[in-house]
Symmetry: C3
Amino acid sequence: MTQLQYILELLGTFFFAISGALAVRDQHDDLFGAGFMGFVTAIGGGTLRDIMLGSYPLVWIGDINFLYAILVGVLVAYAFFKYLIKLRRTFVLFDTLGISFFTILGVEKALSLGVQPEIAAIMGMFSAVMGGVIRDVLTNDTPVLFRKEIYATACLAGAAIYLVLVNLQIDRTINLLISIAIIFIFRIIAIKFKLSLPNFKR
Amino acid sequence: MTQLQYILELLGTFFFAISGALAVRDQHDDLFGAGFMGFVTAIGGGTLRDIMLGSYPLVWIGDINFLYAILVGVLVAYAFFKYLIKLRRTFVLFDTLGISFFTILGVEKALSLGVQPEIAAIMGMFSAVMGGVIRDVLTNDTPVLFRKEIYATACLAGAAIYLVLVNLQIDRTINLLISIAIIFIFRIIAIKFKLSLPNFKR
Amino acid sequence: MTQLQYILELLGTFFFAISGALAVRDQHDDLFGAGFMGFVTAIGGGTLRDIMLGSYPLVWIGDINFLYAILVGVLVAYAFFKYLIKLRRTFVLFDTLGISFFTILGVEKALSLGVQPEIAAIMGMFSAVMGGVIRDVLTNDTPVLFRKEIYATACLAGAAIYLVLVNLQIDRTINLLISIAIIFIFRIIAIKFKLSLPNFKR
């Protein structure tokens, strides 16, 4: 299980790097710009979480494999740009799988550092979405967080479910599968039916 | 005194969260977007200060009540949006009171961690204004720091006064009242008379 | 050597502060805005590096002289604005010298904290360029990182050369001179001949 998890983390980092690199715009359209975007997208969320929790060394600083996963991701994006850019739909699936998975891993890491469940849920959400937010801030886009479909909310909901199931002493593997699936399904349904939260101004 | 201070800190957090949530724009106008803005506005400054000083755990991670103060603030903003948005003037007062208070508390916290007075003044100012700056960066607004009326400058001035009075061994409670009042009055006068610092380009 | 290095670091900070303060735009054109920009430009990169590495206290918090170097830089920029703004070309030289120097110092600091060479190279690049990036994000400009000419790439290249020469056990002073010179020359040539990396989208 632990080894499978490690491989999944590297794989998630790899996909995040591809998706970040594919987000290049005309204004910063060169290999370095794309590489930097891939890097920030992939490590931003976990880095912010670990800095807030004071957990050192940061994952990608302590284990060089994450850097290589990003590098390979960026090079794959570079080599197959024209092909990959047509696969946007497939990428939404990968991205959604990625944020589902990283949310719950982030919750677990925060819990293991002894914070309260409410804080762990926020940290899980941060792990999943803040990489994309930092990327968007750097490129002066509206952060993905604020686009209409349910996004970070799905992460928070899944994190809450995970915490409830921990409280009910459900087996960890089963809990992981359930709560990851809930985020994934919640998000896909929200995209499909263009669901969104109630407006604030009315 | 200590208990009063704790209640005031929670109250300040509550008001910062309301003011953050009220800052929602059309582009990210849903309950999550507003909640996130309230959260960032309320905890951003103190979080940046504590990360820079290496002071862990962060206040809101170590004490869950701050999270609840924010949650209540956002829900109040949601429930009474139409009413509150008309009270902008009152909110300027609350906001000014909030930054005055948080500036001096930030100075005290930095001093207690053993930094030099000049650094403590900067940290006090950061505590008060950086939450709003991060909020503005996330929404692609011009950071509040750079709008014309004297804002962060008032915080710096009040922090300097506080440090001088500490040096003169003035009683802490009196010092708090004086230096908080100075920030408050300085800022209100600046708004009233549209004061601003000399231009840089001439 | 150590004392020379300390003086050079203060000098680099001083020049970074000038260049940051000169970047004021109409929207935030007052003494505080310019001072804040100078401050962020000068300390941003090293601060991000040290926070990521968990290295406390931050340089400018542990040694007040850096703050004074920035203050003097901002005041010089204020006093001689009209004159300095005409020296843009000279400033490109100073800026390039500054990023060359800070890159290698950043690599050395990261290595001394025991990280792997690849991480040290990234940290060196961060030390040099992230102050400007944070400045650009605060003013809603396109981060300097993403402008066309080779910029951060030159830092990465110089960092790599430095690490290779360390491996070959070249004397440190000679290594410093070589790798700093390489960044400087690489960047100046890139500006002169408008070199850029291959585009990502083709």
